[in-house]
């Protein structure tokens, strides 16, 4: 008697942490960054050359692989998290210990 083996087992998923760094494109004037820079200089940090302000998001998600996770987060960035008209983003992924 044979056991049916044609059922596909679901792909094993892992947890990932995606850290998303969003900032204004270099061409976009950033008055917030400029004013932080001036604040630092007025505290005596004359060595400060420039400051760019931005956003930092932590997204945890499950995916079959790190590459899949990165691709998914890139899609999220393109669709919602960043506005390509004015912003750029960088994604940094870390595998989380499985439960």
């Amino acid at each position: 008697m044979s056991v049916k083996t044609d059922e596909v087992s679901p792909a094993v998923k892992h947890s990932y942490l995606a850290e998303v760094f969003i900032s204004l494109k270099p061409v976009v004037n950033d008055p917030e960054g400029l004013s932080i820079r001036d604040g630092l200089r007025s505290l005596g940090y004359a060595e400060v050359e420039s400051v760019r302000a931005g956003k930092y998001l932590r997204v945890t998600l499950s995916a079959a692989s790190m590459a899949d996770a990165e691709a998914a987060v890139a899609r999220m960035c393109d669709q919602l998290l960043a506005n390509p008209v004015m912003e750029i983003y960088r994604i940094q992924l870390t595998a989380l210990a499985d439960h």
Binding site: L24, V27, V28, N29, P31, E32, S35, L81, N83, V85
Partner: protein, 234 residues
């Protein structure tokens, strides 16, 4: 003629918009909740100001994905007149119905003031009854109104007559002292290529009778009303 005012959680200009149409223009107007999926019963749409979804992430970024926005995009595609005011303008840029983006004001301050804007084109249904060069006095109230496009896109907007309003002084002269948010080219409002979708940072719906400080807003809203009537008849 029936206006629809699209309301998101966090909209706060919705009642101004409803009042301006009902009391200022004397036209019919209905609220359209963001969870609705049709605007077929409307002849013109206003996307009002406020802080939809708390302005989280970016102003207008989350409102853009509300169920009603597909219907708004389709309405715009069919040539229906759509006016995005302040947060509504931000939402229309996020939805890519209008070019560009609205960034934090150059001063970093929230600016609440009456300003002058110069009408740049009569090509849109909202400015069809105004002469280019006409000056309107309207209130602004925003923290993120600095219009941004790349210099190439700006040139394209100019070439296509898509810049609808510029901040100016009372005489229609444009200079940096009268650019409340440091927008590129002093832009206060733009349209899509076709001209039926317009976004602006000033609030025409808060200027519909002298008792509240001015009534120049009716010259924009009234033009829409009459232009839409003509379009319906064609």
């Amino acid at each position: 003629m029936r206006f629809g005012v699209v309301i998101f959680p966090g909209s706060n200009g919705d009642h101004d918009a409803l009042s301006s149409i009902e009391r200022g223009l004397g036209e019919e107007v209905v609220p359209v909740w963001h969870k609705e999926r049709s605007v077929d019963h409307c002849d013109a749409l206003l996307i009002p100001g406020g802080f939809s979804y708390g302005d989280y992430l970016r102003a207008g970024a989350i409102a853009r994905f509300s169920p009603i926005m597909d219907a708004v995009a389709e309405f715009a595609e069919q040539g229906g007149p759509v006016l995005g005011i302040c947060n509504g303008f931000q939402t229309l840029t996020e939805a890519r119905l209008l070019r560009g983006a609205l960034l934090r004001n150059g001063s970093l301050h929230f600016v609440c003031a009456w300003v002058y804007v110069r009408v740049e084109t009569d090509r849109t249904p909202f400015t069809a009854e105004l002469d280019p060069g006409a000056v309107l006095r309207l209130p602004i109230a925003h923290g993120q109104g600095r219009y941004f496009v790349t210099p190439e896109q700006y040139a394209e907007l100019e070439a296509n007559d898509q810049i609808v309003f510029r901040y100016s002084d009372a005489h229609g002269e444009v200079h940096d002292d009268h650019n409340p948010n440091a927008s590129i080219g002093h832009v206060a409002g733009v349209s899509n290529r076709r001209g039926n979708v317009v976004g602006l940072m000033p609030h025409p719906e808060r200027a519909y009778e002298m008792g509240i400080g001015g009534d120049d807003g009716l010259r924009i809203l009234g033009a829409v009303s009459r232009a839409a009537m003509r379009a319906v008849r064609v």
